[in-house]
């Protein structure tokens, strides 16, 4: 068995990607939690975790060790097998959904013909984990939280699915890599052709992952912790991992469909090839900032730490810049699509997750009936209007021969008008009810 034969094995890259996801994802999810806490602290004008490790960077590791060493409690009269099975289903469904996500043109575990539908379908299997977990806990709070959470997920799945179908009309295929390639061919991200669809998908994906402001089922002040109440230690960590993996999955779907996947901005046009230096430049800026702050640290350990981080960033910038500067056809230039694709994809997913966190710390929580009303009476009609609008735009553009901009601008304006009308009706309905209550009280 020589090395060449192993390297030529077609299943090698998918296997490495799969191993990377299963082994590295828990660590990455832990660090996303740390990033969220730091962002939350920044928005609340404080510092966040600072004690464990330099600038709190070892906090996720400390949390993981604590969770692993906690006592494993199973409630009395709880169904042991289902109690054990439920977090497993959630985590398996979330990780399986990551297998069709195109992190780069090569970093794809499986280029399925039905890739996007596969991600949506397998992600929907996570609902089982939630419902069974709530039921197996043999506790009222858990069951109520689980049923509410499952109802919320099912409601917003329809709107999310229709928003996705709207963008699929533009792509013409279900394979995730082909969708990204189509955006490169058309020269425009589908975000600009279907902005209402992107907005609907953004809201629906926040509700799909039980994030604030839609986190009534797991809010601490409402139902203790919903379906996760009776889970402690490692089982709770599994549910948490499943939730953050789900966030990464929906961010990946949005990036693939609307934000151009692993393409750099203006991927189609060769004039903008200088943008290929942008990743290296951005990371060099981060390295420069680290070196700038290093002398200002109070403790020498932190000075050394900042310097090391700066050096690492510099190395990464070099790694990203070399394939662009290398002559075409060499091994380095061949590595460019993979490396740069991964950078752009992760940057877009990171931006989408930052918007999630931003919205979490800005808006108050929706009450459950308001949540359901929003899902069924606002988002679903808007997504249907979006679907009809995109179909009309495509008919005008491809059938009647209108230009791209007029047809899409017209249908987007009509969809926004329909959404505004729905908001107006919704307000009238709410105000009407309050008015009736007042007159009834006075009469």
């Amino acid at each position: 068995m020589d090395l060449n034969a192993i390297l030529q094995w077609p299943h090698l890259v998918p296997l490495i990607c799969a191993l990377a996801i299963v082994l590295v994802l828990p660590l990455v999810a832990g660090y996303i939690v740390l990033v969220e806490r730091k962002v939350m602290a920044d928005m609340q004008v404080r510092l966040g975790p600072m004690r464990v490790g330099p600038h709190g960077l070892l906090q996720p590791i400390a949390d993981a060790v604590k969770l692993l060493l906690k006592e494993d409690i199973i409630p009395e009269n709880a169904d042991r097998y289902i109690f054990w099975l439920a977090p497993l289903i959630s985590v398996t469904a979330a990780m399986l959904a990551l297998s069709a996500v195109p992190i780069g043109p090569v970093f794809l575990i499986a280029d399925l013909n039905i890739g996007l539908l596969f991600i949506l379908g397998v992600g929907a299997l996570g609902i089982f984990g939630i419902v069974l977990g709530g039921w197996a806990s043999n506790s009222h709070y858990s069951l109520l939280g689980a049923l509410r959470s499952a109802a919320q997920l099912v409601s917003y799945e329809t709107s999310a699915g229709m928003a996705v179908v709207g963008a699929l009309l533009l792509a013409g295929t279900l394979s995730t890599r082909a969708i990204v390639e189509r955006q490169a061919q058309d020269g425009v991200w589908f975000l600009f052709a279907a902005p209402v669809g992107f907005f609907v998908y953004l809201v629906a994906s926040i509700a799909e992952t039980n994030r604030a402001p839609f986190d009534m089922p797991e809010a601490e002040s409402e139902l203790v912790a919903g379906y996760m109440t009776e889970y402690s230690g490692f089982r709770w960590a599994l549910y948490f991992l499943a939730e953050y993996t789900n966030m990464i999955v929906v961010a990946s779907i949005a990036t693939t469909l609307f934000l151009g996947g692993y393409l750099r901005p203006f991927a189609g046009t060769p004039i903008f090839d200088f943008l290929d230096y942008l990743p290296a430049l951005l990371i060099l800026l981060v390295a420069g900032y680290c070196f700038y702050r290093a002398p200002k640290q109070p403790v020498s350990v932190q000075k050394g730490f900042m310097a090391v981080v700066g050096l690492l960033c510099g190395g990464m910038a070099l790694l990203l810049a070399l394939p662009v500067a290398a002559p075409a056809g060499s091994f380095l230039a061949g590595a460019k699509p993979g490396l740069h694709g991964a950078f752009w994809f992760l940057a877009k997913v990171g931006a989408y997750l930052y918007v999630f966190m931003w919205l979490r710390f800005t808006f108050p929580r929706y009450r459950f009936d308001q949540l359901m009303r929003l899902g069924w009476q606002f988002l679903l009609p808007v997504s249907m209007a979006n679907l009809a609008g995109i179909a009309a735009a495509l008919a005008l553009h491809r059938g009647l021969g209108w230009g791209v901009v007029p047809s899409f601008a017209l249908t987007t304006a009509l969809t926004v008008a329909a959404a505004a009308y729905l908001v107006w009706i919704g307000e009238k309905h709410e105000v009407g009810k309050i008015g009736e209550e007042e007159t009834a009280g006075n009469a």
Partner: protein, 168 residues
């Protein structure tokens, strides 16, 4: 060879899960085993190169219908029912009936499968690209059944809502 192994794996999973569905005392356990049986069926669809049907089975059947079943089980779950008799009083008649029916069908398949083996299986390319072919069939050739199916779903939706309301 690999085809045969995959088939036997999913077939064994489907049959074992099905037997467990009809014999478990706890209804939630039955529901979980039904979900497993449905996933095994989806695997068989995938091995038969029906990729669109595979994902439709997962999204609709396992992710939709089974979630509905689990919801209702949790709403009507009675601890009393766990301790009552699970099987019909006339279960031997039922079993006899099923055995006779099964034996008849078994004999029919045994006798007639030689003529089916004479038919060479069509090349796999006839079913590619699967989603596009299914879409063409649904929206061009069989568009009338498609529209009737949507009316059926609408009727079922309205019926379900009306029946589950406390006061109409």
């Amino acid at each position: 060879m690999l085809d045969l192994v995959v088939f036997y794996f999913f077939a064994a999973l489907a049959v074992v899960s099905a037997v467990l569905v009809v014999t478990r005392r706890n209804v939630v356990h039955s529901a979980i085993f039904l979900a497993t049986a449905l996933l095994a069926t989806a695997g068989i669809f995938l091995s038969l190169r029906a990729e669109f049907l595979f994902i439709v089975q997962i999204i609709l059947y396992t992710g939709g219908i089974m979630v509905l079943y689990v919801f209702v089980i949790m709403l009507v779950n009675l601890d009393v029912a766990l301790h009552q008799v699970q099987f019909n009083r006339r279960w031997y008649v039922a079993l006899l009936l099923t055995v006779v029916l099964g034996a008849q069908a078994f004999a029919a398949i045994l006798v007639s499968r030689q003529s089916l083996y004479a038919l060479p299986p069509a090349p796999a390319q006839a079913l590619e690209p699967n989603t596009e072919l299914v879409a063409w069939g649904l929206f061009h050739t069989y568009v009338l059944p498609f529209e009737i199916a949507s009316v059926l779903l609408l009727v079922a939706m309205i019926g379900g809502v009306v029946m589950a309301k406390k006061r109409i």
